[in-house]
């Protein structure tokens, strides 16, 4: 390979590596490269344009955008499932949930955490981006005490903490969103911009709903949410043994042939149970006396 070609390739590779960081730095370098004759004007144009795109793509979704995404995901779910209107039970679930969220890694979100019950016997729990969390009647009635209820809610809070909902959006779609916004923060939208962004918003909502309702998160994400939930429970004083207890109930049901809803999106209950049990025993979390909480749980469920 000729020396000129090696320099040419080295130049392009260097700027490919710099791209995600700073488009301006790349631009200064490509100008120098063009002046030295190492790259052509066309090379410079392509590198600069790609760097700008990469920089924009690097912008993560803001908490406020995540909030609007979460509202749309929740609105979609509530278009399918009925909202349980039992005020007392909803308040109780919110009390448990809010107390847990407060000791989670991200206690405050743009719009805060809100917990709602879906009026279905199906077993399911869904965390929308931003902090709206749904838990089905079927899921609640399988819990034997407040510790087990806390384990369900803490698991969903951990998904919100980890921004798993946002991560369900296809990278290419988010790149399009960021590109559509343009680099200039000033100015207002034209009607075409709104139409394009709305369509991208719709696609993003569908990505999240599809993951929540149909495909489920990856086993790694579920495992991380389980581990996060155990930490949250332990921080506030719920007995972490509530989680393996609840998973054992679900594992038994899965073994008996449960495939709908939660079981289709959360396969491998026995594996999850084994990992959670290992964490509990490794941390020597002994069973705690939770009779005082059992009493109030029994009055609601």
């Amino acid at each position: 390979m000729k020396r000129h070609h090696v320099l040419h390739m080295a130049f392009i590779l260097t700027f490919l590596l710099l791209m995600p960081g700073c488009a301006e730095v790349v631009k200064v370098g490509t100008t120098a490269g063009q002046e030295m004759g190492v790259i052509t004007a066309k090379d410079k144009e392509i590198i600069d344009r790609t760097a700008k795109g990469a920089e924009r793509a690097a912008r993560p979704m803001t908490e406020k955008e995540e909030y609007f995404l979460g509202r749309a995901v929740a609105a979609t779910i509530l278009g399918t499932y009925k909202l349980d209107q039992n005020e007392k039970l909803t308040t109780y679930v919110n009390q448990v949930g809010q107390a847990l969220a407060m000791v989670s890694d991200v206690p405050l979100t743009y719009g805060g955490y809100h917990f709602a019950i879906l009026a279905t016997d199906e077993v399911n729990a869904l965390a929308c981006p931003g902090g709206i969390i749904f838990v089905s009647r079927g899921m609640l009635t399988r819990a034997k005490n407040e510790e087990e209820l806390a384990s369900i809610l803490a698991h969903e809070i951990a998904h919100v903490n980890h921004r798993d909902g946002v991560r369900a959006i296809q990278n290419s779609r988010w790149l399009e969103v960021v590109t559509a916004l343009g680099s200039d923060v000033a100015g207002t939208y034209g009607s075409g911009d709104i139409a394009k962004l709305t369509s991208l918003f719709e696609g993003s909502v569908n990505d999240v709903v599809k993951t929540l309702v149909t495909n489920g998160y990856s086993r790694e994400q579920e495992r991380a949410a389980d581990q996060g939930a155990l930490v949250i429970m332990n921080r506030i004083g719920y007995d972490p043994n509530g989680m393996p207890d609840y998973l054992a109930t679900l594992a038994k049901e899965e073994k008996a042939g449960g495939t709908r809803g939660f079981f289709s999106t959360h396969p491998g209950m026995a594996d999850r149970l084994a990992v959670v049990q290992e964490t509990v025993s490794k941390n020597k979390w002994a069973r705690a006396d939770h009779r005082v909480r059992d009493g109030r749980f029994d009055s609601y469920l």
Partner: protein
């Protein structure tokens, strides 16, 4: 040579002092600034989304901030630090930038986009989402719930 070293020292100290007081932007719809660094401490002032607060002290997950002359503690998850964009110095201006700039400018996934999305999909139950968002438990009630259940109150260090 000595003069040069002194100049460098002065520049470094000035930069250090400037870095000491960090600026943050509120990323919650409304963030509470509390008297002490714990969740159930009395609220001294509420700060709306997008506002800047200055902080000179960080303890655990809490920042001691000043907003409109009122001092108190804000949880770190309610704010994002504004970083100085050093690349802008060449242009004679040190810009502060965060990922929120675009959203603050009213771009991105905004209420405008939500409205267009809802108009396009009228079956979406935003009315019920608003109901769910109205489920709020006051600090006093959560604290009472935690105490009645013999749970641990979130401490200042968390």
């Amino acid at each position: 040579m000595k003069k040069m070293l002194w100049c460098c020292l002065v520049v470094l100290l000035t930069m250090g002092a400037a870095a000491y007081a960090a600026t943050y932007r509120v990323i919650n719809e409304e963030a509470a600034v509390r008297k002490d660094r714990r969740f159930f401490a009395p609220i001294v002032i509420r700060v709306p989304y997008g506002e800047k607060v200055e902080s000179r002290e960080v303890k655990g997950d809490w920042l001691n901030v000043t907003y409109r002359g009122t001092q108190g503690w804000i949880h770190k998850s309610a704010v994002t630090e504004l970083k100085i964009d050093w690349t802008a110095l060449g242009g004679g201006k040190a810009a502060e930038s965060t990922k929120d700039e675009v959203a603050l400018a009213g771009k991105g996934f905004t209420p405008e986009v939500e409205k267009a999305f809802h108009d396009k999909n009228p079956a979406m139950r935003y009315d019920l989402v608003n109901q769910v968002e109205s489920y709020r438990i006051t600090d006093e009630k959560i604290q009472a719930f935690i105490r009645a259940g013999k749970l641990r109150e979130p401490g200042g260090e968390s």
